[in-house]
Symmetry: D2
Subunit: 340 residues, 4 copies
């Protein structure tokens, strides 16, 4: 940490800060400029913590405290310097392979799932996605099939061999979902549901963590650190759009965040252009853009009949449109040196 003293701080103020640093086990370094005195805190005893920064910032004469070190470790490049792929069942995410995970927003029935699974597999998807538990803004909308939905997912895997990615919304669902899913997805609304992060981290299955729609990249990485600290080795990050003032698209896909997070962590990072745009006709260009930006995979919503989907029809592709998308995605993936 660096402590910047106010222009009108006194020697006693500076002494107060130094004593506090000393009490907390920090060394220090003082730099007295013409306009400001600056104190560097050295050797945080067990990592630099937000708590210490907060406490120092309210001492007399302190203008502000600038943190220097990151508070995530297990998922950082300093911990593991090179990108590391994650396996979802037989499907590899990361390591030069673009993993396309496709399927409907909601699991709606056995036939819908098996039919969709076959179609997306034929087109080149490597995993099946679909929600048995659905977070919905209104209590009067379809809330998902729950356990029955998990069974339809398992049946579709049985038929096609595609591994399953599905969302878990509640700590009480973790055990049941972990039993069936190949990868447990934590949704954007739950990115800071810390109980859920910990439970999923300890469930023994890969976890896909969607970025909260108003969370910074740093908060996203800290949330992943919760999962890692709970024991998970296999974590995938997913950028799915952030909330901005623009209302022409549902969210704003933040591809810069993928490039930014890539520098910080070795975890694979995928993109979800379907939720980000909310508009079927924008999914293709944003899928291509995500691939070119360096995403390790894509989540694409596919529904056999978008006009009958119980959720997210407007952003769902038909199997035919998905097949076209895969053809285009392959070309861009090759152009950036990846295989699909």
């Amino acid at each position: 940490m660096i402590i910047i003293m106010r222009a009108d701080s006194t020697e006693a103020d500076i002494e107060g800060v130094l004593e506090r640093l000393d009490d907390s086990g920090y060394g220090h370094h003082i730099s007295r400029g013409e306009e400001r005195t600056i104190i560097g805190a050295i050797g945080a005893p067990d990592g630099e913590k937000d708590t210490a920064a907060g406490q120092l910032s309210v001492l007399p004469g302190v203008e502000r405290v600038v943190p220097i070190l990151k508070t995530y470790k297990l998922i950082s490049r300093e911990h593991h310097p090179r990108p590391k792929p994650v396996m979802i069942g037989p499907a590899q995410v990361g390591g030069g392979h673009l993993a396309v995970m496709a399927g409907p927003c909601s699991v709606e029935g056995h036939d819908q799932m098996v039919q969709t699974a076959r179609a997306v597999k034929d087109a080149g998807a490597c995993a099946l996605r679909g929600g048995a538990y659905k977070p919905r803004s209104s209590p009067y909308d379809f809330q998902g099939l729950g356990v029955e939905g998990l069974e339809h997912l398992a049946a579709a895997r049985e038929e096609t061999g595609l591994p399953i990615v599905t969302e878990v919304m509640d700590v009480r669902q973790v055990e049941g979902v972990a039993e069936i899913a190949d990868c447990m997805q934590i949704g954007a609304r739950n990115m800071q549901n810390y109980g859920l992060l910990k439970e999923c981290g300890g469930a023994g299955k890969p976890v896909m963590l969607k970025r909260g729609f108003a969370s910074t990249v740093e908060e996203w990485l800290k949330a992943a650190e919760y999962i890692a600290a709970a024991g998970a080795q296999d974590i995938i990050l997913c950028e799915r759009g952030i909330r901005t003032f623009e209302t022409g698209t549902r969210f704003t896909l933040d591809l810069g965040a993928i490039a930014l997070a890539r520098r910080e962590t070795f975890l694979p990072i995928v993109a979800d252009p379907s939720h980000a745009t909310g508009v079927a006709s924008l999914v293709l260009p944003m899928a291509l853009a995500s691939t070119a930006a360096g995403a390790d995979g894509l989540l694409i919503e596919v529904h056999p009949r978008p006009d009958q989907a119980l959720s997210d029809g407007p952003q769902s592709l038909t199997p035919a449109a998905f097949s076209d998308l895969m053809r285009e995605v392959r070309k861009v993936a090759e152009a950036v040196g990846m295989t699909v």
Copy 2:
């Protein structure tokens, strides 16, 4: 709903929409303008649902679908036309009484709680706030005292008679918190944790729902509807700042949202200027502004020693500063016709 057809839509497209409306039990009305045909859907069979709008929007020739009706009912003014106060133990929130709830961010020990409770009661607070379970961005920061924290809260109530408002983060904590708290708080990060909303709604205690920091007023009201639909009668809304591009304050307190929500719902609405600003010196002006804007209450963070607080020290007031704040708040409350 209103369905706006594209300029190049065909008669067959229009027929397709009408058939779909008919199948779904809606009547309709067509308005053929020079540039656009517009179809009004009449008499939604069981309320206008997002699902129907989504499905219609992907039919051929449809440009967009404009929802007309609100999807919240139980908490709306149409359901109960006049504002309705909520009791937290002996303390009234709403109905012309400004309820000030004060206390530390985190419960840190027995003495801290009893001392703070006495101080805030003396200054005029009507309820004690403090977190036993703490949502923290980093897994390495203080996570709260848990059950022991609840006991300190109960002890402070015993000593002072102040009712308790405390956060519940996880469905597994609901039963324990409901047993002790006079009001269960759902934090901003959990505003769309639907399992938690439902559990709290069924727990038989008043619930305070903080607005998600990237949630619209409409989403906030829909989240409250979840709680109401689960059985709760006594719900308090709390505006605590939204995330914007401005970094000079921690969040941006959106007082317009209080005025806006007021028109829609009969629920009391309070403001949390401490979390919104994140800066102790800005809490007073924002507390006064909240009061003038028509808030039914205030949440104020008070800590006997902000420089030793385990969380949120920078925004905590000392008991002396809180006492000053109460004096100023009373004047503004009277000016807008409220009692404290």
Copy 3:
């Protein structure tokens, strides 16, 4: 500035930074921590500039550069420690007096202006506002009466004695507006129109600078510094709402920004709840909140017939509603120790 070196930076990297500082006339101080080396740059020769920070940040081994000093001076509290009122003609803005400036969005005709001026004066306004030049999102909307509008403003002043606040959009209008207006307003869209800032700063009349709807408080203050550097002594800041994800109001009135800017500058700061909310029924609560938050004045849109206004009808108050507002505003102003 503080230069934070990367964990893997070399001695040569550090040397490179020190040499550059030396070449630029800075002294330095090095602090070698266990995980990071930190270099403090001391004694910026002619103020700390963004340019120097940018250049240093791309030197090898540099992780980031943290600026320490503010780049605004003339408008800062360090330059003039206490708030300083500004006179608009006979009306005082700041110094414990709440200045209410009211009138229509657009000047539409002689009778409209005189009638409105009389009404707002009777209700207690101290200045008349109205736009002769109107920035409009669409080229097909009413663009203002221009010079003719200025004449109507002057006529209304003649009749009522109220000084005039009116917008200048273009450097070519500055001379003409300065001749007639008592205060020249720079609108939110032009907050970073630097040519206009400089011209207005040199025109010899007080300038009201609206905050850009996506500008930080720091950028707002830097824009005011442009005006001051061009020679203006009398500058008023105006918070008029920022753009956020919330669409229920037109903008989000950021009252925390008033409190924040207040700490930094001695300039008076007023609020515009009409543009911020865009909804007439929300203007009253936000006017009260602005007053309680410490605003030195209010801009309120008033139109004799909002349903015939050529711009901003939805947010305009009738003279009767404005009169009610003034009655409520007075009470809150008194509660916070101000006169109206």
Copy 4:
């Protein structure tokens, strides 16, 4: 327009709306639902204007007014259905050709410009960019070389044949810039500087309009309509990042906006990953992403010595890095069927 009446509106309210529509030359269509009456306004006499919507929205009993028609015409696909390339001197932007425009943020001198022009031409750029007039947040930072800068640009064109794109900030510069530049750039801060839009629109040179960093796609298109209405045929749109809560990058590049604007307008749309990210190491991935998203061109900041740049050094590429970028961009461009 569609006028949605409140649930408690009366017959007299409805009559009032119909009369007003009649007076204004609109026909109408009424749809009386169980919960709401909805009125469609038909046949706007001279286009649907914001003014009419605003006036109707304040009539008694009106809940809200929903505009149906777009207020931009000249630049819309309805006016010209297919994308239409723009020539900047000899360089084509749009029509399947990816136009890469490169150069320094600021023109700093003759040698810098000629050297950079040669380097970017060798690497494959088709136009030279560089600012002679610079909008800077602080009045104490380098403000550009002005007329001298224009001469250096002209000299570099002379040497290399590359056409010039350069910013105009002020109406008084339009004539001078138009004389020398092959394309006049209007910066993000000036997107709603309507005087400037009109002057540039009438200057007889192609205009590149950057999106305001807090402007919606719709506002961006309306601003382009201003230029078109002033007479310009050749307009290029440029997405350069929007302001969001994320601070890890300088702005958030909104590639969805390119895809969205593409559906609405025939104008070419380019992307500026340098300003959007503000970080040199993120420029390459975002340049590739922009290309894959369907951009018609790229603006890339290149400086021979980023550590000595007078502005935007942190986001500038060296000529060598630019050459690498061009190699990668070419591959992605080919993958999406474009030539460079």
